[in-house]
Amino acid sequence: MSFPILSTMILLPVLAAFLTIFLSANAARWAALATTLALFVLGIVLWQAYDIGGPQWQFVEQAPIFGQRFSWALGIDGIALMLIVLSVFLMPICILASWESIQKRVPEYMAAFLMMEAFMIGVFAAQDMFLFYIFFEAGLIPMYLIIGIWGGADRIKASYKFFLYTLIGSLVMLVAMLWMAREAGTSDIPTLLQYNFPVEAQTWLWFAFFASFAVKMPMWPVHTWLPDAHVQAPTAGSVILAGVLLKMGGYGFIRFSLPMFPEASAALVWVVFGMSMVAVVYTSLVALVQSDMKKLIAYSSVAHMAFVTIGLFAFNRQGIEGALIVMLAHGLVSGALFLCVGVIYDRLHTREIARYGGLANNMPYYALFFLFFTMASVGLPGLANFVGEFLALVGAYEANSWVAAVATLGIILGAAYMLWLYRRVAFGAAAGEDTASMKDITAREWLTLAPIAAATLWMGVYPESFMAPMRNDVTAILARIEPVAPHGDANLKMGDPKKLAKAHEAAHGEAH
């Protein structure tokens, strides 16, 4: 058996978390940074070693140490790989971002983050349904503590809301999982992916999973925990929340809902489309009127996640690939935006947009980075979000032109609130003496923002690096769902290129 790299990636941070608790504040910071960097290296190794075009599940590990009901089964496909890489990429940045802003109870903070990382990797690597559930739920505990201990003024309410909201959704999913394991006789995900559940049961199962993933995603109208959690969480907590935790919902849809219940997904596509359409427009409008920067970005996350759901349920390759890229791109960009907010919050200790202004004068580098990520979020071609959103819209148009039209409206609104936010923060006159005297970003903050900017640019210019590992997995999912794909209203017909060329030639000839 080869080296169990996935188990190492899960157990290493757990072990480090236990050691970190006993360290001093500074030692804990370095220990956490070292651990997360080591995991990042392991993640890169994983990416390098991943055989594109090879077997669907790679790095498979199987250890039946929990009796018969479930086992320690790990393994990843390209989708999981990319999400794991995203997690381990953001983690060291989170630790760096908390270097100075977290001053109380540092060892516990670092331990909570390391536990969080272990659970996130576990979610994406789990190949057993119940193991997935355990990791999925376990992540609530460290996040609850992160929001509750190190959060803002109204942190208690936010932490409860976050915990209970996600918990109730997941518990319903657990009952569905129990039923599925009984019906199929296994909890092994690759096997379940090929199992055909009875069509009449699929609707129930689909809704049970939907309850969990829609909350996690979050989709309108169960998104209300997100703005609270984001606003109250410390900066690094927001980054992880937006960067990785929200992706678990999308991952759940693509791993469970679509391939396991294809008929139900096709029949209930209107639920997803309806909720997503409302989300795109409504949350964008809500974002427009926010006076709190973090809240604004939080609402924009809900709108972006709606693109993911629209893309996933478009039932075609462009839609699904677009949704996956949006997930990755949003993980980078919204994480970076939260970091940008964190940078100025650390200096002025307020998130009120009105308290800023004119930052382009005294913080030019900061303004540059902020502009870069604002543009990425708006969907500027050449940056990460554009690729995903464009593909998702292409896919959506094929499925339903109305959905595509409304979603496009969301992009326009997105540009409106992001650019307006940027104008109010970076341009104009400073709101006060203190705002005008803020220092530009430090070397540490450079280290947090620059890597994300580089990755965003890379994904925007050459998305193939990220899409290549996922392509075969999308094919596998399409094989499951395409036979039942709902009929789209676009009625796209492939033109005949030869005929067109001839006509063109003829027209050309006549002119001469």
Partner: protein, 475 residues
């Protein structure tokens, strides 16, 4: 079967009875000064009883059965009783004074519990139950000068006597309509249709037993008794008698009424859901940690009954797994409660006094947090596994509505467990606790916390196998 063979099968109970009587004499003659010795001897007796387990067979012409089921449950009872004795010494030394009768009473109750678990006849059941209950009434009012303790004992006694009456009435009905008190005889009689009289018998028996396991709607005594009784006694109430009563209920339901599952399934589904919901809602407003844990125990009994309501072998196995994990969580959390002491050394039970505990005593706070998250059933703690197996059994038995409502209601429960964590971790520190180093308490806390931590998952194969064997013995 010869009388000698029967006696050999009941060896654990005989060892405990003889030790109890002998230690009572020691207590009478040597006085309270011998308490520490008596406690030690009682724990040794429990260990000896544990070693003497393992006989298989039916004793005294079908009054008593030693089988895999009793071999599974009894060690758990002995463990809980032993821990309750060990935890008592320091508590009583500080609060009241050491009294040698304490462990004698626990031993007597343990004999009763052994009989409850092994009873295969409605009368053995009743005698065992009464032996346990009478000892428990005395234990509840053990701190004679304490008003709350006396109140707890009185309440427990009055309501307990009422419940015993109801149970006995149910037994008499079952006996009257089936002509026998033997479990298998009753099962045979019920197999050819359940008449009105038999149905009443079943309902009354279940009502009486619901009182003993503190299931809604017969739970009213629990918060008062848990609060009033001295904490080591509450630890004991929350663990050993609960296990015994659940085991008894399981055996009666399966062995005596197993042929009429449909008659009692609905009753159990109702009590189960009512317990889960009331236990969860009732706990929210509590300010006393012992009352909160009392509601938590009501809530947990609801989940236990989910497994039993399935009425299948997997359900019984799940119920027993749940009880093991529940006992570990209970012992651990009450040992933590024992550590809550004001600056003058007296015990405090106010939840508010936990504020900011994570900064004053991080290890203790972490342990309580582990128990709370585990009781709430949040993975990766072992409490999740307990809920997992019972709901798995319910789903397998086709009880979908029960599973969905029960599991959704556990979110309500999660709220108040989270509240404790919130108070310990998010709030500003309150006055510091009196630091007391007690190896026994710390040891119990550390061991149970370790057991319900994710490491406990490694014990699952063993636990599932053992509980499956235990369940098989009943079918």
């Amino acid at each position: 079967m010869s009388i000698a063979a029967s006696l050999l099968l009941t060896l654990p109970e005989i060892i405990l009875s003889v030790s109890a009587i002998a230690l009572m004499l020691v207590a009478a003659f040597a006085g309270d000064g011998a308490t520490r010795f008596v406690n030690g001897a009682a724990v040794a007796a429990l260990f000896a009883a544990f070693l003497s387990l393992g006989g298989e067979g039916v004793a005294f012409d079908g009054l008593y059965s030693a089988d895999a089921f009793s071999d599974f449950v009894k060690p758990l009872i002995y463990l809980a009783a032993g821990v309750s004795i060990l935890l008592s010494t320091r508590f009583f030394a500080a609060e009241d004074k050491l009294r040698a009768e304490y462990s004698v009473l626990i031993l007597l109750a343990t004999v009763g519990m052994g009989m409850m678990v092994s009873a295969t006849n409605l009368l053995t059941l009743y005698v065992g139950l009464e032996l346990q209950s009478l000892a428990a009434y005395v234990l509840a009012s053990f701190m004679r000068k304490d008003q709350r303790s006396a109140e707890a004992g009185l309440k427990y006694f009055v309501l307990g006597a009422l419940a015993s009456g109801i149970l006995l009435y149910g037994i008499s009905l079952l006996y009257g309509f089936s002509g026998t008190t033997d479990y298998h005889g009753v099962a045979t009689a019920l197999a050819d249709g359940v008449g009105m009289g038999e149905l009443f018998g079943i309902v009354f028996v279940l009502a009486g037993l619901s009182f003993k396991i503190a299931a809604v709607p017969f739970h009213m005594w629990t918060p008062d008794v848990y609060e009033g009784a001295p904490t080591p006694v509450t630890t004991y109430f929350g663990s050993a008698p609960k296990v015994a009563a659940v085991a008894l209920l399981v055996r009666v339901s399966i062995e005596a009424m197993g042929s009429a599952v449909t008659s009692w399934q609905q009753i159990l589904i109702f009590t189960s859901l009512a317990s889960i919901i009331l236990g969860a809602v009732g706990a929210i407003g509590q300010t006393n940690i012992k009352r909160l844990l009392a509601y938590s125990s009501i809530n947990n009994v609801g989940f236990v009954l989910v497994g039993l309501a399935a009425g299948t072998e997997a359900g019984v196995s799940a119920t027993m797994t749940y009880m093991v994990i529940y006992v570990l969580m209970t012992l651990g959390s009450f040992a933590c409660v024992l550590q809550m002491r004001a600056a003058d050394g007296s015990h405090v039970e106010d939840i508010a006094s936990l504020a900011g505990l994570s900064r004053r005593q991080p290890a203790l706070a972490a342990a309580i947090a582990i128990f709370m998250f585990s009781l709430a059933g949040i993975p990766p703690l072992l409490g999740f596994w307990a809920k997992f197996v019972v709901f798995d059994a319910a789903v397998a038995a086709g009880l979908m509505p029960l599973a969905v409502i029960g599991i959704a209601a556990s979110t309500i429960g999660a709220f108040y467990y989270l509240k404790i964590v919130k108070i310990m971790y998010f709030d500003e520190p309150a006055e510091a606790y009196h630091p007391v180093g007690s190896y026994v308490e710390s040891g119990v806390i550390a061991l149970t916390a370790l057991a319900v931590s994710p490491l406990g998952y490694l014990a699952i194969p063993m636990l599932s196998a053992a509980s499956a064997v235990a369940a098989k013995a009943l079918f």
